[in-house]
Amino acid sequence: MLEIVFISTLNGVLYGMLLFLMASGLTVIFSMMGVLNFAHASFYMLGAFFGFEISRHVGFFPGLVIAPVLVGLIGMAVERYGLRQVHRHGHVAELLFTFGLTFIIQEVVQMVWGKLAVDYKVPPALDFPAFTLFATEYPAFKIFMLAISIAIFAVLLLIVKRTRVGLVVQAALSHPDMVGMLGHNVGRVFMLVFGVGAGLAAVAGVIAGPALVTQANMAAALGPILFVIVVVGGLGSLSGAFVASLLIGLIQTFAVAVNVSLADILGDTQMAETLSVWFSDIWSVTVAQIAPILPYLLLVLILIFRPRGLMGNRES
């Protein structure tokens, strides 16, 4: 029992940190620009493929720097020449713009790298088990991922809370005209924010690529889970996203460990027999089976009962 709790906690934290790594860029863009970036997963995919391509020539670690910079530049160009035009038509238009972008990035990736999975490997320097716990090995790469994730969180938090840049960005969201009059270039601020967000997505891609599968369908495979994290954490709250990632990682991991179904709870009573006929479908469904849809349930419940999210400070 202790073993299961211990291992599940560790797995949950590792998974939660992977989720935060993926969601951090989305949170940055969402909380600072108010844009629901549907193309986030596409930037993540671009990061993975750029990282793969660079790792083939100069190695993994240069790729970890170069790929995010490249994707960040692409993100800035997208903001400058696309999103900015759309901005005046409102949030729905912005969101749909990023929605259209996903089609284009998807097809371009398919044209360049094909439809098959590419062989994006864990770098040899990190390809060893870091430690062994209850006979389960934990690869060094996962620990590296955890460290990067926490580092990103710390740096972002520092920038937003402790630097002038962070203040300007936050002010630009609520009072763009005032910030503009104070002599700051609001357009450039937003461009930078979008670039940073896209770059962070790419960092996640470079790291998750070898850990998961680098394939042209990886953006679609990610699904809307990242939106769940951002919303559950609270719009505009970096710490909220961090907590939500951990929470969702732990919930899913622990749920998988639980093999209980309605049939087990209600046992062999007369009533249970009647119910089992009527609800034959959900009767034997275990908690483990519904683990991955729990985040969506959480999303709906949170939005109903606490629309600000866990740590958000405003509604939308």
Binding site: I4, A220, Q289
Partner: protein
């Protein structure tokens, strides 16, 4: 606004080109209705490559009954409803032979549609050549006269695989992990029944269902498998659900054997290599390219000269096309009404191993010699690696065709 004017014009171009492409020629038109974009595109593209190769080879020899074979792709985006519209389009363009395989849901919809379409449109009958969907209902309770299954169905594969596992004395505890939808459930139930049957020395220590293509992190499942003490896993997972599962096992250092249906599917050999699971992952198929059968190996080399990415994944497409062409020539007509009776009960020398298989008339299920193969470093006379991994499929066991025959509940309605 400027952009819009352009888009309108673009639509016109599209219109004009569709109108022109519909112009008829006297060829044997074969419609390939499978995913060519989206999540299933990798598998769909491989099938398309093979069909193009087969058609080119046949056309170089003068075609079928003097007619050139033309493969027309219809992208169904792995969606049942889109597939039906695409088949309607194919019929309008003179297609009477529809090849489809990816996705049980699509296959069921297509088979159902074709049956209804044929009864409502006599004189325009279409035949459905299913090269990959293996849901047993397609050749049992939902069987159709116009549907032919060329891949061994779930019952056959489970029967063969579990017999192989039961004969292997090293296997004591088996963990079943499958995707949480009808296909995964039918595999799990059949496998649990076979492995847990009386007289079996194998214990089923877990029966897990993972939500279909929703899981990113499989390490909790690996923890469960380890906790159960299993020495083998039986899974019919495919795509990401298999690749990520195997990579998670590799990460955690879980040293057990994997018995799968779809480890050969595009992308999975790469994942197995990355996980470092040499000679630990097995699949059941109708054969692999490294079989010691020279005519086939020559053909695979010719194929790879054109499509170098991977060797032949769907040998059954060669069987299916060969049998359809043979039936057409025997019937002297490419009208499905005439050549379908020839397909029923047809015996055929399999492309992959030169052994004989047959199309059972009762349910239109093709029976052939089956092979269990493992992925690992190659030996002599095994020239074909998968996806440039350096590893290839090597035969671990052969199941003769007689041992693959299972009963059917099909009550075929013949026109």
């Amino acid at each position: 606004m400027r952009k819009f004017v352009g888009s309108g014009a673009f639509a016109l171009v599209v219109l004009a080109s569709t109108a022109l492409s519909a112009m008829a020629q006297d060829t044997l038109k074969i419609g390939y209705v499978d995913p060519l974009s989206g999540g299933g595109a990798a598998a769909g593209q491989i099938g398309m490559n093979q069909l193009n190769y087969i058609a080119e080879a046949v056309n170089a020899k003068g075609g079928v009954m003097g007619k050139q074979v033309e493969i027309i792709p219809y992208d169904n985006k792995l969606d049942p409803q889109v597939s039906l519209v695409q088949i309607q389009k194919a019929v309008d363009q003179g297609v009477r032979i529809v090849i489809q395989g990816n996705g049980s849901s699509v296959a069921a919809a297509v088979s159902d549609f074709v049956t209804k379409f044929n009864s409502r449109n006599p004189g325009k009958e279409v035949v459905h050549i299913n090269h990959a969907a293996i849901d047993p209902s397609l050749t049992n309770d939902k069987c159709s006269y116009w549907h032919f299954a060329f891949d061994a169905n779930v019952n056959i594969k489970v029967e063969a695989m579990t017999n192989f596992m039961k004969a292997n004395e090293a296997i004591k505890k088996v963990y079943l992990i499958n995707q949480d939808y009808s296909f995964g459930h039918s595999v799990a139930e059949a496998a649990a029944a076979k492995l847990g049957a009386e007289g079996s020395s194998i214990e089923v220590v877990g029966k897990e269902f993972v939500p279909l293509q929703k899981v990113t992190d499989f390490s909790p499942y690996i923890a469960k498998i380890r906790a159960s003490g299993a020495d083998s896993v039986f899974t019919a997972n495919w795509g990401n659900d298999l690749q990520l599962l195997i990579k998670a096992a590799g990460d955690a250092g879980l040293d057990i054997n994997w018995y799968t249906f779809y480890a050969g599917l595009a992308g999975t050999p790469t994942a197995i290599k990355q996980a470092g699971l040499e000679d630990k992952v097995f699949q059941i198929t109708e054969g692999v390219n490294n079989l010691d059968y020279m005519p086939m190996q020559e053909e695979v080399k010719a194929y790879m000269a054109k499509y170098p990415d991977a060797p032949i994944y769907y040998p059954r497409l060669f069987n299916a096309m060969g049998m359809v062409f043979k039936a057409i020539e025997e019937a002297g007509s490419d009208d499905p009404v005439k050549f379908v009776p020839k397909l029923e009960g047809m015996k055929y020398v399999d492309f992959i191993d030169g052994k004989e298989g047959f199309m059972r008339a009762d349910d239109h299920q093709y029976f052939q010699t089956m092979y269990i193969s493992g992925l690992g470093s190659l030996g002599p006379n095994q020239p074909f690696e998968e996806e440039k991994t350096g590893w290839g499929w090597k035969v671990a066991a052969t199941i003769p065709v007689d041992d693959t025959i299972v009963s059917t509940t099909c009550q075929m309605e013949r026109p």
